[in-house]
């Protein structure tokens, strides 16, 4: 965006913002003032309404008291009460009419709606009902069977004639009994009657009665007068005109009367119950905003209480339309002023911005030429800020011209130039100065380095020759080591073979020992079998012994028999004797055999024990052999690893041998390369002589001698550098003069090539 447009736009937008802000602020303030004024207005209206109701209340109380006392009312009430008690009301009819007339007169003059008189028992005595143009007044006729009314209907304000009294059954709006007439207080209270907020005044009627206590006539309460006054549409209209507001009255039965019929509901529940000592003058107002139909209003509400409950409320509405019209007017005026200001200021801003932007365009063109390197242009000068800027830019161009001259001289190899640094911030000047200093320094250092390279290369030549000799000796030693390693390797292999053989033997021994254990177990089993058979044999022997015993017994019996047989039995006795001998011999033999068998059983037991011990010993041998086999196996593994390692060592040694041979060759090549390096150093020195060096700028301690000595040694190389020997250096000043100066690389990577 152009500078001109920026100035114009900023001026215009500032004006717009100021006008909008001022309009909003002013309208807000006016609105708030209006609101407060409306509230004051409403409060004033309520003050008038309260005063009016207060005066009505006072007047009603006074009227009621007047009715209760005027024209000997107490005595008349006492008279009709006595008549009622006696059951004959015909006598007191005139008195009833008088009472009714009295009440009627006062009601007319005080514009009351309804007046009633009750006796102390709560029975009706008289009533007056004013219904606009018509008035009904009357009294009840108490009878034991049925109570009827005697009423007269007249035009309001006209006294009833004697003949206008008629009997009637009922009268609307009049109760025969009043609830607890005695409890009605003296004064005027609020009540809802027929949907209207009403003031109800009551006053006791007194009569003189003889008191035995004081022995004189004393006043006593004889009846009650009750009068109603309605706050009806007429009251509302009057108050509206008086306060220049709209007034609506709501009761707990809904809309009662008002100026704005569209506003017909108000919920009285929002007014909480209060204590019985409520007073109208102390009741606070409630304010709110209100929209009814098309109108918009400020609203104030005054609630009315009776027996602690809210029974009615007066809403006073004040239209907002006037306040709104005022605000709109104010906004219109302010907007007009703002537009006028914008139209006035815009042309002025245009002229001012033009005078600024023209010289700035010229400076822009000048800067464009500077960018392209044209230092010949000059700017016009003047006395204002833009003219001063032109002069300063001209000075910049002059300074640039001077430094360009110095740079041209340096490019021609003249390093003896001096630079005037303009200030500490003069980067270009300082850079030129540093450049000259550093180039001087560098070229002198390069000359020295070339000398050192010369010396170093001859040293390299010497040391590479001795290196070559050493490598040859190393190769001879390596051969000897290799033959020794081969010998060791063959021995290790033999070791491994022997160890594996030993391992095999150990395994065999282990198997044999296991077999031995098994054999021992088999032997033990066999011995057990022998033991078992021995027991069997001993049983058999016992049987044989038993047989021998039995035989002996038989022989004895035979001997007995033979003895009995006398001389015939003699031969038999001899036989029996022989049999007995045989039996005893076989018994003896059996006994001996039993002893032998017992001995053999014992020996078998001993044999078993020995077999067990042998088995245990064999197991131990087995374990030992297992361990031996493991150890020998480890030895075998270790030996074979050793053999492998030795073969690797041999391999490594042959690699070392290769390297050593290569080293010898490299050392010879290095020697020849060092000679070549010496000739390249001489060439560098000749190239450096092209620079005119400022000797004051040299910082190192001993350059002078070197500089003087170097030309003598100068020797141009016979042939140019071989390709692949090095790379050109990156230093630009050298490139400017001789771009083909070779660089001999001697680091590790490059060295590998030789």
């Amino acid at each position: 965006m152009k500078l001109k447009n920026k100035i114009l736009l900023s001026a215009a937008s500032m004006l717009v913002v100021v006008s909008i802000l001022s309009t909003v602020t002013v309208s807000f303030l006016i609105g708030r003032q209006n609101r407060e004024a409306s509230r004051d207005n409403l409060s004033r209206s309520f003050k008038i309404i309260r005063e009016r109701i207060d005066s009505l209340q006072t007047k009603l109380a006074a009227d009621t008291r007047q009715m209760a006392s005027m024209e000997d009312m107490g005595a008349k009430i006492q008279l009709v009460t006595d008549g009622k008690k006696s059951g004959d009301t015909s006598l007191s009819e005139n008195t009833y009419i008088e009472i009714s007339n009295t009440l009627y007169n006062v009601a007319i003059s005080s514009k009351l709606k309804r007046v009633r008189a009750y006796d102390l028992e709560g029975d009706l005595i008289s009533f007056v009902l004013i219904k606009g143009q018509e008035t009904q007044l009357g009294f009840p006729q108490y009878d034991t069977e049925k109570t009827t009314f005697r009423t007269a209907t007249v035009k309001t304000g006209v006294k009833p004639e004697i003949g206008s009294w008629k009997n009637s059954e009922t009268v609307a709006g009049i109760e025969l009994k009043s609830k607890a007439a005695e409890s009605i207080r003296d004064g005027a209270n609020f009540e809802i009657i027929d949907g209207f907020l009403s003031l109800v005044g009551s006053a006791p009627s007194m009569a003189m009665e003889y008191s035995q206590k004081t022995n004189s006539l004393e006043p006593v309460k004889i009846g009650v007068i009750i009068a109603d006054l309605r706050l009806d549409t007429e009251f509302v209209r009057q108050m509206s005109e008086l306060t220049d507001t709209s007034i609506n009255i709501f009761t707990n039965k809904g809309f009662s009367s008002g100026i704005i019929p569209e506003y017909d509901t108000l919920n009285l529940d929002r007014f909480p119950d209060t204590d019985p000592s409520w007073q109208l003058n102390l009741q606070a107002l409630t304010f709110a905003d209100m929209d009814v139909g098309k109108g918009s209003y400020f609203e104030g509400i005054l609630p009315f209480y009776a027996q602690s409950r809210c029974i009615a409320a007066i809403a006073v509405l004040y239209s907002k339309n006037i306040a709104r019209a005022n605000t709109i007017q104010m906004v219109k005026v302010l907007s007009g002023i703002s537009i006028f200001c914008i139209l006035l200021i815009l042309p002025m801003a245009y002229v001012f911005s033009n005078s600024l932007s023209r010289p700035i365009l010229k400076v822009k063109e000048f800067a464009g030429k500077l960018e392209k390197g044209d230092l010949s242009e000059k700017l016009p000068t003047g006395k204002d800020e833009i003219g001063e800027m032109g002069a300063a830019l001209n000075a910049v161009v002059d300074e640039l011209n001077r430094k360009a001259g110095i740079a041209i001289a340096i490019s021609n190899g003249d390093l003896q130039q001096s630079v005037n640094v303009s200030s500490t911030q003069d980067t270009l000047g300082k850079a030129l100065e540093t450049m000259i200093l550093k180039m001087n320094d560098t070229i002198v250092n390069i000359q020295m380095a070339a000398d050192q390279v010369d010396t170093g290369s001859s040293q390299i030549s010497d040391s590479s020759q001795s290196l070559s000799q050493g490598a040859t000796e190393q190769a001879a030693s390596l051969e000897e080591i290799t033959s020794s390693m081969t010998e060791i390797g063959s021995q290790t292999k033999t070791n491994a073979e022997n160890a594996s053989q030993a391992n095999h033997l150990a395994a065999t021994a282990k198997k044999d020992s296991i077999e031995g254990v098994e054999q021992m177990q088999a032997m033990a089993a066999a011995m057990n079998a022998i033991s078992e058979s021995s027991k069997e044999i001993s049983k058999i022997i016992k049987t044989i012994d038993g047989i021998a015993f039995q035989t002996n017994l038989l022989a004895l019996n035979a001997a007995v028999e033979a003895a009995r047989a006398g001389k015939h039995g003699k031969g038999f006795a001899v036989v029996a004797q022989e049999v007995r001998n045989l039996a005893s011999r076989s018994a003896k033999a059996a006994q001996e055999t039993a002893q032998l068998i017992e001995g053999s059983v014992n020996k078998v037991d001993i044999g078993n024990q020995i077999a067990e011990k042998t088995g245990a010993a064999l197991s131990k041998i087995n374990n030992g052999i297992t361990k031996v086999a493991d150890l020998v196996g480890e030895i075998a593994a270790a030996s074979s690893e050793q053999a492998q390692a030795i073969s690797q060592v041999s391999l490594g040694l042959s690699q070392i041998d290769n390297v050593t041979q290569r080293n010898t060759a490299n050392a010879e090549e290095t020697s020849s390369a060092a000679e070549e390096l010496s000739s390249q150093a001489a060439k560098v020195r000749s190239l450096l002589s092209l620079f005119r060096v400022n000797s004051d700028a040299i910082r190192s301690g001993t350059p002078k001698a070197v500089l003087q000595a170097s030309p003598g040694k100068k020797k141009l190389p016979a042939a140019s550098s071989e390709s692949g020997w090095g790379q050109p250096t990156a230093e630009t000043e050298q490139n400017d003069i001789e771009p083909t100066v070779p660089f001999i690389a001697l680091d590790d990577e490059e060295y590998g090539k030789y």
């Binding site: 038993g546 015993f549 039995q550 002996n552 017994l553 004895l556 019996n557 001997a559 007995v560 033979a562 003895a563 009995r564 047989a565 006398g566 001389k567 039995g569 003699k570 006795a573 007995r580």
Partner: protein
């Protein structure tokens, strides 16, 4: 039983005169404890091995009970108990010698039976007069044979008469 008894008595009657001399001085010997005893062969009926003894209540303590010998029920008397010696467990060498005392068969439990030997009358000495103890009343004499002395028993006195009666009557 009665038939076997009859046969026995018939045999006795038949052999009485001829065999008297052959049966004389012949003794059946047996061991009780350490001592050897002899019994005239004419009293011995037979020797049997140890059998199951059925105990009979209300008997003298030396009568162990009765056995069934081939259908004949005979009482059995323990000689050790009879001689007031300490009792001993019966083993496979213990035998019952069935003897005939006054036509009554009775078994005698002895430790071991030995032999049938001849002891001439001149080799028989009267029993020693030192003891009047109960044991000595059964001894008829002391027979000498092969440098050993056999105590010869009087089979008749092995039981008191009354005791024997009691035993036999119980069996009958």
């Amino acid at each position: 039983m009665s038939m076997a008894k009859d046969i026995g008595s018939i045999e006795d009657d038949l052999l009485d005169e001829d065999d008297e001399d052959t049966q004389k001085n012949r003794y059946f010997t047996f061991q009780v404890g350490e001592e050897e005893y002899g019994l005239e062969i004419m009293h011995v009926i037979e020797v049997i091995g140890m059998q199951k003894i059925t105990e009979v209540p209300d008997m003298p303590d030396f009568v162990k009970g009765v056995i069934n010998l081939r259908g004949q029920v005979i009482p059995v008397m323990d000689v050790r108990t009879r001689f007031k010696m300490s009792p001993r467990e019966y083993d496979d060498r213990t035998c019952i010698v069935v003897i005939n005392i006054k036509d009554t068969a009775i078994g005698m439990v002895v430790d071991k039976v030995s032999d049938v030997i001849d002891i001439p009358e001149d080799q028989v000495d009267p029993p020693p007069k030192i003891s009047r103890s109960a044991g000595s009343r059964f001894i008829k004499g002391m027979g000498k044979a092969d440098d050993k002395v056999k105590i010869l028993l009087d089979a008749g006195k092995l039981l008191y008469d009354e005791e024997l009666e009691q035993v036999t009557s119980t069996i009958d």
